[in-house]
Symmetry: C3
Subunit: 350 residues, 3 copies
């Protein structure tokens, strides 16, 4: 699997990590150079001078333009070469590709597909992120040595929590509870409720539940790169399963996935919660999530390596795979559609 959906807004980097200096990122197997203009706007270009292929990220920022570090060819923010030292004429192909970028939710999002289809209003947004009654906390850029769809599988799969995240996000009370799934628009929703059970370690630490709770895990995954896990707990019998959440602790854990190449992805994660915490508690919660997502990383990387091993048997599929399998078929179909669209001339055709 080394093909990617191209017409999508992908997370490229945390906004906090982008400044008026050149930096390199890899996404969908390609290298881009990234920087912020004096005005604050973010620029992303192919990271190779079309002359000798020196990485532009090794060059110099001159005003808002990049001067190549090898022979001084200079490119503006649109990727157009505007200077070739020693010669007055600039050949028409002396340009690099520039990618549309928008910033939202603390991240710069890049459009690697047909620029004519890049609609900034389509970038993912979670309204609560901007809501003063909620509290948003930025996490890390966690690199995982696996194909991004294996991480996507994991994010269509509440069942793994009972076995992978015993010290943080899950406990054994949920082991045998089946999951449900349905497709809602472009989103694959997978969920389950665990009723009248002890709170998970995270809420035992940071909640104040006296007794058992009703808890939910709703996994929303929208291909290719948006996952949002809505989970929370309320005292048992206070009506949470019927929609009454005023007594609940609720967290939206977002995972915005950067497919680096076929072997690696980056999980840009953050969470938005319906309760305030002091700084020390916030840091402790970040620590809990870091522990949990490192557990995912460990198992996903082991699986990635095992997938390259010789096999005696064919994979077994079980009930909880319904959602990831449906998701995989949808991704294949999107890629196929993009390809036929591109072959028929793309957005510029007809």
């Amino acid at each position: 699997m080394d093909e990617f959906i191209r017409n999508a807004w992908y997370p490229l980097a945390w906004s906090r990590d982008i400044s008026q200096s050149l930096t390199q990122r890899r996404i969908l197997g390609q290298l881009v150079v990234l920087y912020r203009k004096a005005s604050g706007t973010v620029v992303a270009l192919d990271d190779a001078c079309p002359h000798r292929l020196a990485p532009l990220s090794m060059g110099r920022l001159k005003d808002d333009n990049i001067e190549c570090g090898y022979h001084g060819l200079t490119f503006d923010c649109s990727g157009q070469c505007i200077r070739i030292p020693g010669q007055p004429v600039i050949p028409p192909n002396a340009r690099v590709r520039a990618y549309p970028i928008v910033e939202n939710m603390g991240l710069a999002w890049i459009w690697m597909g047909d620029p004519a289809l890049a609609d900034p209003s389509k970038v993912f947004d979670l309204p609560q992120y901007h809501d003063a009654n909620w509290s948003a906390v930025e996490g890390d850029a966690l690199e995982i040595g696996c194909h991004y769809l294996n991480l996507a599988d994991n994010l269509c799969d509440p069942a793994h929590v009972s076995f992978v995240h015993l010290s943080t996000l899950g406990n054994s009370a949920s082991e045998d509870i089946p999951v449900h799934s349905e497709k809602q628009g472009d989103t694959f929703l997978t969920w389950r409720w665990i009723l009248d059970a002890p709170a998970i370690p995270l809420f035992q630490k940071f909640g104040n539940f006296a007794g058992n709770v009703d808890r939910w895990h709703y996994y929303h995954y929208t291909p290719p790169c948006i996952a949002m896990v809505d989970f929370g707990s309320a005292p048992t019998g206070t009506g949470a399963p019927d929609g009454e959440r005023s007594n609940s602790l609720q967290i939206f854990a977002c995972h915005f996935i950067t497919p680096v190449d076929a072997e690696r992805c980056i999980d840009h994660w953050l969470f938005v919660k319906n309760f305030q915490t002091d700084e020390a508690t916030t840091q402790a919660m970040i620590g809990q999530f870091r522990t949990a997502f490192d557990e995912d990383k460990t198992i996903l990387e082991a699986i990635h390596l095992n997938e390259k091993e010789p096999r005696n048997t064919r994979p077994v599929r079980i009930a909880i795979d319904a959602s990831p399998m449906r998701m995989r078929r949808a991704v294949d179909k999107i890629i196929e559609t993009e390809k036929s669209f591109a072959q028929s001339g793309g957005a510029n055709a007809a």
Copy 2:
């Protein structure tokens, strides 16, 4: 060369290294998970859950069964899945392959071939290992970065001792003495006698020879993985070459070879000697062997790399190659026989 003889008992691990916890080994290019049951019996299974391919060795031992660390699928010692959390039905293909294991001479031996042919009585044994008049000393699991047949070449080859092991097992007295070889049943025997010469460094350190000795090196190699070097010395003129060994120091150095894959093997070595030593002397002898086998490792790894280099010339074969060449042809023939047997239906046919 990436094909292996399959119908054989291969050393997998020292018994001392196997406990009631999960550990991973690679053999014949395949990963297996290894553990000891409460009863003491050793279990080996393919190390991949057939669901998502998570390594079972990253799971948890629950009684004598393995629970996968990703979704809790549980496998018994026969490799049968006995639990899938969240669903009552277990698909018939939810199983992993289990491999026959026997323990002998301090090692667990695995059968990677047709289980119907696995006869525990055929595992290699050296009677002196169990004889109270002899003394057995376990060595290491020495990983060598070469194809196991290059190590096997070395173990059909007493001549290298004069040049590789000058500080331990050989000296220059033997440089020009030809080797003899013959096939005895399935075993390739290669040997030479060095008469009336100074003792080798090992026996100068740990023997008490006043003058010159008659010494012998008998290399027994039985494909694919059993090598036993019978070597020793007796005072010159006391009749050792005619079979009188009562005055001799004699050592059986065993090399039990694990082909890890086409690029690596493990030499599980031990030795059995006809004389007792105190602990300090035993450790010093282990040190001498360790030095010697590291010398083999160094040269075998260099050859392994050089075999991948472009060549101007074809290899030269000399007199001492008769035994390794015959051995190589026999191995090729066994592999071919196994393949035709497998194609005709294996042990279950007819």
Copy 3:
């Protein structure tokens, strides 16, 4: 690109690094063992015993011969096997290839092609290296992770100096000055003059120019491995552009290139100057060159990696590429000529 010109004297190692001990080098993708005889002559042989392919460089020097460390086969300086322990007969193919070697300008030069064509008088020489009025200073063996022709491009290219070497060999005064080029015999000459401009940092440090200077950069490159950069400065208006160099500081910077394989090369560099310096100043000048050539290494290695990346666009060629492009075509033609010559029987034909 993994083909090399073979009929040429290539630098193999600094003479200072060759002694009466065995050492290994890789050139044109091949491993050779290198040592100095008692008489001082340098010997180079293929670094693999033709028996089991053990590297001869892991063997022992016995007088001027090499004894293989595995089974004692012994080879003389012509590569002929002169001893096989344990057998009297030496098969006719028991030999390794020996390569012609000459020493000049502090380096051992090897001939990897048809030995019948190896003419020691054709090894590169710079007369000033031996001239008492000039001063020669040896530099390093700088390994660069790129194809040697990318380094050769760089050495047909004075223009990069204005952007890569701002702290040492260039300054911005030259940015927009075009380069000239012509082929002189087998040599590709590329040059430019920068008139009435501040001295470059190197000459600001080590020269005594009161005002502006006229400076020149003449890049001489003779495929496959000889580059000599003639550069210098004289006070503006003292006639340097017309040939009057008596007031000038002049340096010949030599780069003798060893193609290690398709991924690496070694730049053996030295310089010869028309002025004397004390030891501390000489060391400081070496430091300046080291800084400059490390800057080339950094950019050449980044380009080498970028050349393996997927590309959206075709390379752009600009005016300064005329010389490297012509050089590349000439190299291709030499390789093709050598191939047809070899196919028609080589120097031994007709």
